[in-house]
Amino acid sequence: MKNNNLSPHELTADELSDARLFTPQPAQGAAAEQLSRPVVGYWKDALIRLSRNRIAVFALALIVFVALVGVVGPWFFPNTSDGTPYENSQNLNFINQGPTLGKPVLVIEDAPQFMDDKVDETYDFTAPLLKSGELTPPSAFAVVGQATVNGVTMSWNPVRGVSGYQIYRTVVSGQPISIEDVVTDAGMRGLQVATISNPAQTTYTDSSGLNPAEQYIYSVVAYVLDPNTQEETVSERAEALQASLVQTISLADAQALKADAQVGETIRGHAHLFGTDALGRDILARMITGTRIDFFLALLVPTVSLLIGLCYGAISGLMGGKVDMILMRIVEILDTLPELLLLILIQVALGKGVGSLVIALCAFSWTGYARVLRGEVLRLREIEFVHASRLLGAPLMSIIFRHVAPNLLGIIIVMWSAQIPRIITSEAFLSLFGLGVEAPMATWGTVLQDAAAHFQQYPAQFFLPASILAATLLAFYTLGDALRDAFDPKLRGRD
């Protein structure tokens, strides 16, 4: 045998004869087998490789952070005046607001007081109706008191000889518009908010769907209705005014923020980092409380349906033949049964709640796993080690879990992490069928669904929660990929 330690040049005879060059090692016995480095098992190895992947560590940290905020966050929610949990507390003075650190708000009575419409008692109803050319709009059109988001009250002097008035409203933003346009051009007056059929009436309060971020131009015209033909004639010109709205807060809520708040005072309102929804609830708070349920579902449902799908797919693939045929036909039937009918039925049978939600979500996801995994098993079962194991008489379940499953780990982790986003979107979809969480409880899915209905009008309401969702999902994906790499021994030393 050649000694590898020898240098490449030829040894001289002298050197060869010098016995001192070679000292025999004493026999070391068991010590030769001693591992001088620490033992790294499969799991530990995976963990080490995972921790070397910086992006994966960051993703994991993000997931843990989001989960922690979900668990701990609600402890820090402000108290509400009536004791409802903050995330469910509605503030109708503050609906559909964009993100804010606290706007100035006017303190008002707890329930907004609506003025009764005033009527001119001296109005002369006997005056003959005016002809179309003679019609003039009412004069002295003005805002009464403070225009708030709860209502804009306007008043005018009535016109003799008319059937009533029409009030229009348009927004200042958008295509350029001026008061003069509204006065002269009927096409610019915008939306008709009221028809006042009593010509003696002198005030009107508009309160419908007001947006405090907007300035409005109101206009009023007089009209005459021919009693015989019901033909309507409207005055050509209008009277117009511009109003900007003040945001309000109820006294009770104000005092919760500032103990000595008084009606009529302007204080700094609540901060809503993500804004508020259509019922004035804080969106961030709803997202935070929703985290718990969503994480629970996102981790549980894919795992359960994966396990079912894996067993089913593996049995089908390994047994093959008739069993495979029948099992796959059952999947076919389940796949084509009208999903919506099944959902309705599950709802009728199990009612509302997290339990029926899990069942419904699993019921519709495991067949997908089963089909894909069966395909993979069909491929794997022809591989030698499975053959060998079979020949040695290993039971089916042991083949599945010892030989098949580990080889499917990559695809399983990818599918598992890919299902998480679907869970969150379908959780919201199921709530439409009475299968979701109980209202007003929030989940990410329901928050997004509520906002999606008007994402063009209030984009922040949708895109802020959506970006949190997307970031979390991206983290799950990245982590999933990293896990797959880490757990697959074949990919060792490749990063």
């Binding site: 796959m328 039937i333 009208p338 009918l341 491929r379 022809e382």
Partner: protein
């Protein structure tokens, strides 16, 4: 010969599967609250009885079952809709399925080609900008609702060019409508996003796994060119699981999407299916379910045969 036997056997099983599907759906429909004659405004009792008689809903359940069974499986007649008076389910399928199928096939074509391309690039250039971008696209494609994309495309591809850039409405894409080749474009792109997302992700992971397998290493060592290595060795093996998802995706996409049809005004089957379920329109639900069932069975059969063709290691049957 073996393949032929396999196919015949599967076709025989298909009949049994369809019968089971029929039976389950029949009782499922009737177990769900509500019936076709239930309206927001209740139909007066006498008229209701007259209507039940007219539609044969007053017969005992087993009679209704066998009547419908023989009508569908012997005469091939799915009956008429309870909601749209005089509309035959066979006509609904004949007229509206090609529409959904057309849009579906185009979007699967777009989705699969783009998805495969992105998946391969993302796998070959891991952790590159393209990889990250593809990943982001996957997350967005799966997690954001499709109506969002539908509206974004409708606005940016049709409304904006037409109103702000002064494009000719006769030739440019219209926001909604059906009947011309241009009407395929926006719905197909929208529908393809989800497909791109699933395929990219799956293919990428498969490519990576295959990339470390012995035969790829061997091929590399032998000096096979990169192109040949990727195409002949990596892709061919990585694509197998993709096939198992492409056909379900195809069936799913061809059956029509409620949202896409609603936003782009497409007379497809997605709308018909949803409306039928909302209205407990028994004949339409049954017709569409059995039709899709048959369609899925055929597609699954093709999948299984293709498995054998692409991967000779797998024996069908």
């Amino acid at each position: 010969m073996r393949l032929l036997r396999f196919i015949l056997q599967r076709l025989f099983l298909a009949v049994i599967t369809l019968l089971t599907l029929f039976t389950l759906t029949f009782f499922l429909m009737r177990a769900v609250p509500g019936d076709p004659l239930m309206r927001t405004k209740e139909i007066p009792e006498e008229t209701r009885r007259n209507l039940e008689q007219r539609y044969g809903l007053d017969k005992p359940l087993h009679q209704q079952y066998f009547l419908q069974l023989s009508r569908i499986f012997i005469h091939g007649d799915f009956g008429t809709s309870f909601r749209t008076v005089g509309r035959e389910v066979n006509d609904i399928i004949r007229e509206q399925f090609p529409v959904s199928a057309g849009v579906g096939i185009v979007s699967v074509l777009i989705g699969v080609t783009t998805g495969i391309a992105l998946g391969i690039i993302a796998a070959l250039y891991r952790n590159s900008v393209i990889d990250r971008f593809a990943m982001f696209l996957c997350v967005a494609g799966i997690s954001l609702p499709s109506f969002l994309f539908a509206f974004i495309f409708q606005y940016s591809l049709a409304v904006y060019p037409l109103t702000q850039l002064g494009f000719n409405p006769d030739t440019w894409l219209r926001p909604a409508g059906w009947g011309e080749p241009r009407d395929f474009i926006m719905p197909s792109i929208t529908l393809s996003l989800g497909i791109i997302a699933s395929i990219t992700r799956m293919l990428k992971s498969q490519m990576i796994e295959v990339g470390f397998s012995e035969y790829v290493k061997t091929a590399k060592a032998k000096g096979v060119s990169l192109a040949r290595l990727v195409v002949m060795h990596q892709i061919r093996n990585a694509i197998l699981p993709i096939i198992s998802i492409i056909f379900p995706i195809l069936v799913f996409t061809m059956s029509g999407s409620l949202i896409i049809e609603g936003v782009f005004g497409i007379p497809g089957l997605g709308r018909a299916y949803m409306t039928s379920i909302q209205n407990s329109d028994y004949n339409v639900i049954m017709g569409l379910t059995v039709f899709f069932g048959g369609f899925l069975i055929i597609m699954n059969l093709i999948t299984d045969i293709l498995y054998g063709v692409i991967d000779p290691r797998i024996r069908v049957g």
